[in-house]
């Protein structure tokens, strides 16, 4: 069974962390992953940096720009991850934009992911219909779970279609926004969380965008299976470096 599905079966709310590979320093990737697991994080999204990350706010844009300047490439990331399964057991997901994957070659990219032990992909600019028509077969051949986003504006009908194509979890974007920390969730979010809960989808949901601290994590996971923290963790790395990851994770739960 895919590690993502195994993790989702646990009787607890999952904490998932995103970071940009190659940031703050080029070779921090393995250490960040190992430290996150050691401190009880349940799942990790490894960001493959892109020059034009149009779904991301300033924090992830900046970390991506620096990661690329540091010399991060798709090939180098695969190189850095080649032995990661010797030390890490939690699910690992690569999150990135479609163009760099296309240039690597979609089939070659998927094959490499399987070889390393990557469990899934999140590709914000690969729409569900394109995936379904052209890529689903390849992703599944290599045992990869592709995760789709939904937003408060996504219609029930479209959510049901996304649910039918998904076989891991659904990434619930908390509000109509790009990525980046926001302090609280209001009534709009609560209503949205409840609307999704009422749809009784086959895939569990994990909330992302705007989760930055214990309070927002708790709010988001009241109905959802888990939550993803990205920008707030990147800010922590920017301010405190890679040696106090325990402190960050400890502040969430």
């Amino acid at each position: 069974m895919n590690r993502i599905n195994t993790a989702l079966k646990q009787d607890k709310k999952l904490l998932s962390i995103y970071f940009t590979a190659g940031y703050p320093s080029l070779n921090d990737t393995a250490k960040i992953i190992q430290d996150l697991e050691k401190n009880g994080v349940d799942m990790i999204e490894i960001g493959l940096p892109f020059s034009d990350p149009l779904a991301d706010g300033p924090t992830i844009q900046e970390s991506s720009t620096i990661a690329l300047k540091n010399g991060m490439t798709t090939q180098l990331l695969f190189e850095q991850l080649k032995d990661i399964r010797k030390s890490v057991n939690i699910p690992l997901i690569i999150m990135g934009y479609f163009n760099p994957m296309m240039q690597y070659g979609i089939e070659a990219f998927c094959a490499k992911c399987q070889e390393i032990g990557i469990d899934g992909l999140i590709i914000p600019d690969l729409p569900v219909n394109e995936y379904h028509e052209h890529y689903q077969e390849t992703f599944e051949k290599y045992g990869l779970i592709n995760v789709f986003l939904i937003t408060p504006q996504t219609s029930d009908e479209r959510i049901r279609f996304i649910d039918s194509v998904s076989n891991g979890f659904i990434y619930m974007v908390s509000s109509a926004s790009t990525t980046g920390a926001k302090s609280t969730f209001g009534d709009t979010q609560q209503q949205y969380f409840e609307r999704i809960e009422a749809l009784d989808l086959k895939n569990p949901q994990i909330v992302g965008f705007g989760i930055s601290n214990k309070e927002t994590f708790t709010q988001a996971t009241k109905t959802a299976k888990g939550a993803i923290i990205g920008s707030a963790f990147i800010k922590h790395l920017t301010n405190e470096g890679v040696d106090t990851i325990d402190k960050f994770v400890g502040s969430i739960r």
Binding site: A55, T74, Y97, P100, D125, P127
Partner: protein, 393 residues
């Protein structure tokens, strides 16, 4: 061969809508309504009336006698430079502001590189009394001060794009991010035949007035609707798309595209996307784009700020791949010389973008009885500083 976008927005292998889910409702709303809106009689009436009374259309099709003699062929210039705001850009912004009004949007965003599309958008927003925000790269804001001032005078807010390379592609990213954050009340007026479906098709249709007029104007002057060649410069490709549109399915008309070679196609400072680009995704669209082997989008270069876009519209990628279009690239130096030549032979100072199209005579020899229509997409006023520096005037 078909040169229309299919219902999913593909021209052959190129196009589509590679957008994050956050943009899906906005783009879907537009996709399901744009053709119906454009076909409404009241829309057509308002669009035609504004093009006539406000923009000053039809733009003349001018027989350039001295230029023709110099190059020993028959050259007509389609005078988009005489439009209000000085370029073809306004054809599209008039169309899109009318679409936005019918969709009930009360806030407009746009990206701009050199500032021409920003000015054309600020203009139509002033005309309609709608709030306008233009994203412009921080570097371009410094390079194009007069157009920034124009936009401000027209009541628009100019927001600097400070991410990435701080130029047109980053301004486009910022506009897309704004749209993600404002999904309900905002319409995004894209300025070129790029972006997710339905933008390339919608922009092309609004710009197709150019070739529609060429047909009847040429009929009046030459007794036939079809020239032997139509020539246009290509950055994203909106003036080219409009210039070619009504001739695409007419094999007797040669389609000529001129890209900016900058300091030379292989100099490392170029914007010749069809030659240097590979298939990929930029700003929601599958097309040819300049990128590293790792798939990072690179920064193009041209002396002309309107041509330095790292991608090309999907229609043009299709014309290139199917060889329906002949693609050439012209260096900074050759374009500047062609701009000077037109100024002194015909008394018309062209935009440097258009000067690239005018430099076609270096690469392509026409027959004496060929009719060659060149899109003079914009006027050179905005480029005077560049001309002054270059020619030490």
């Amino acid at each position: 061969m078909n040169y229309q976008a299919n219902e999913k927005g593909y021209y052959g292998d190129f196009g589509g809508a590679y957008i994050p889910e956050m943009l899906y409702p906005n783009v879907e709303e537009l996709r399901t309504t744009y053709l119906d809106i454009m076909n409404e009689p009241s829309f057509k009436e308002e669009f035609d009336q504004l093009l006539k009374d406000y923009v000053g259309r039809p733009s003349p099709l001018y027989f350039a006698k001295r230029l023709s003699e110099k190059h020993n062929t028959k050259v007509y210039l389609k005078r988009e430079d005489l439009n209000h705001t000085g370029a073809h850009k306004v054809n599209n912004t008039i169309g899109q502001i009318l679409v936005a009004k019918r969709l009930g949007k009360n806030r407009i965003i746009a990206e701009t590189g050199a500032g021409q599309h920003g000015v054309a958008t600020a203009t139509v927003c002033a005309l309609m009394g709608i709030k306008c925000i233009v994203y412009m790269g921080e570097i371009d804001i410094k390079r194009q001060a007069p157009n920034v001032a124009r936009m401000k005078m027209l009541g628009a807010e100019v927001r600097p794009a400070k991410s990435g390379s701080k130029t047109l592609k980053d301004a486009t990213n910022e506009a897309i991010r704004d749209w993600i954050n404002n999904p309900v009340d905002t319409h995004y007026i894209i300025g070129s035949a790029i972006g997710p479906h339905p933008y390339p098709d919608m922009v092309t249709r609004f710009q197709s007035i150019i070739s529609e007029e060429i047909k009847w104007q040429l009929k009046e002057k030459e007794g036939r609707e079809h020239p032997d060649y139509v020539v246009a410069c290509i950055g994203g490709g909106s003036n080219a798309a409009g210039t070619y549109y009504h001739f695409l399915e007419e094999p007797s008309v040669g389609i000529i595209a001129v890209e900016a070679a900058g300091k030379g196609v292989h100099s490392g400072e170029s914007a010749a996307t069809s030659q240097l680009g590979k298939e990929g995704i930029i700003h929601g669209c599958k097309t040819l784009l300049m990128q590293t082997s790792d798939g990072q989008i690179t920064e193009p270069y041209s002396i002309s700020a309107g041509l330095d876009y790292p991608g090309v519209g999907p229609l043009h990628a299709h014309l290139y791949k199917t060889a329906r279009g002949e693609f050439y690239s012209v260096t900074d130096d050759d374009a500047m010389a062609a701009g000077l030549e037109l100024s002194q032979l015909e008394g018309i100072i062209p935009a440097i973008e258009s000067s690239h199209a005018l430099a076609i005579f270096n690469d392509k020899k026409f027959r004496p009885d060929d009719i060659v229509v060149i899109s003079l997409s914009g006027r050179g006023d905005k480029d005077l500083d560049t001309y002054i520096d270059y020619f030490k005037l």
